[in-house]
């Protein structure tokens, strides 16, 4: 290892001395690059095959840095994901507002006095118009959802490409065995599946049958 190599390594460590609590993947890769370069000459003299290995490792690290750069994490975190969040918030807000308007109209109709037929007809017509207008939210909501789907597709493409190029497919499968989070545990224990898609859940008739016919013994068997 030459004096220059050692100096490079010292410089690198000096520069990063203050970062002990926030070491990033990029820092580790930078250190690996410096280390790879530093020991290269020394090992070349003793073992050329090891030098080739080190050169390949260096190239892999450089490629990984390029791939991480292509992922544009900051762009996703600072632009795409917040924008998708804003769209979803707007969807919740507009559907809530429309529902409120529709229910106000329906309640006004329910409260109207049918004895006075003329006034009743006026109330019903006016409130029905309110309902029609409120239903316009569906068009805007559809456009907002399209933008969110587009964002998800962008993220999916970038991450998929990243996984493919770095040959992480195999590792990604092992994620399925990752430790259960607190939220996942709560969902499992409290049986929180959320709404089912069409045809996936049980129907009201099937529920009625389950509640009517299933005996405690049958239930106990399912939990045995």
């Amino acid at each position: 290892m030459s004096k220059l190599d050692i100096q490079q390594l010292i410089d690198f460590l000096e520069e990063n001395r203050e970062k002990t609590n926030e070491v990033t993947l990029t820092d580790v890769m930078d250190l690996a690059e410096v280390m790879t370069g530093s020991v290269g000459d020394l090992i070349e003299q003793a073992q050329p095959a090891v030098t080739r290995e080190l050169a390949e490792i260096g190239a892999e690290i450089a490629q990984m840095k390029a791939e991480i750069s292509n992922l544009r994490v900051a762009d996703m975190r600072e632009n795409h994901i917040p924008e998708a969040g804003r769209e979803l918030d707007a969807i919740v807000s507009s559907t809530e507002e429309a529902t409120h308007t529709i229910m106000e109209a329906a309640e006004a109709i329910m409260a109207a006095d049918p004895e006075d037929s003329e006034a009743y007809a006026d109330t019903v017509n006016m409130q029905v118009m309110e309902i029609f207008q409120a239903c316009a939210f569906q068009d805007i909501t559809g456009q907002r959802i399209s933008k969110v789907v587009s964002t998800l597709n962008t993220i999916d493409e970038r991450v998929s490409s990243f996984v493919e190029r770095l040959r992480l497919e195999h590792e990604s499968h092992s994620d399925q065995k990752a430790e259960e989070t607190e939220e996942e545990r709560r969902k499992r224990e409290l049986i929180l599946h959320g709404p089912q898609h069409e045809g996936e859940g049980v129907s009201q008739d099937e529920i009625d049958a389950l509640l009517g016919d299933v005996q405690q013994d049958d239930i106990d068997k399912l939990f045995a």
């Binding site: 809530e96 229910m103 929180l192 009201q204 529920i207 405690q216 239930i219």
Partner: protein, 127 residues
């Protein structure tokens, strides 16, 4: 058996809109004394203060779910006889069986209509 339209009913849901829908449906069915709570914890506190004739609860709420509320109510000697209907989007067989095992009186899957709600309330009080 005629339904007691004056009995106090507690509607438990974390969505104000759903509470409003169920309130209006119950009013349409003739019920007059309707109270509400935003989750299981609030509902349980209200149930300790007042004797309700029926509880209609959603499943998926925070911090206490309807399922936890049901189990807690059934373990409470003073409240365990309170009729309890689960109204929820949780429509897996596993959920229905768990609710049945925990002592639910009936189970309605969202979305539902006034007729279904009426039928289930009648079924609970016919038992």
């Amino acid at each position: 058996m005629a339904l007691d339209l004056q009995m106090p009913i507690l509607v438990v849901d974390d969505y104000k809109t759903m509470i409003r829908i169920i309130r209006n449906l119950l009013k349409q069915l003739g019920f007059t004394d309707i109270d509400d709570a935003a989750d299981g914890t609030e509902a349980y506190e209200k149930m300790k203060q007042r004797r309700y004739g029926l509880v209609i609860s959603d499943w998926n709420m925070e911090p206490m779910t309807g399922y936890e509320l049901l189990k807690q109510v059934r373990q409470d000697a003073a409240l365990c006889k309170t009729p309890f209907i689960m109204v929820t989007a949780e429509s897996k067989t596993e959920n229905v069986i768990a609710a049945k095992k925990a002592g639910v009186n009936n189970y309605i899957v969202k979305p539902f209509n006034a007729q279904t709600l009426k039928g289930k309330i009648e079924a609970v009080f016919a038992d």
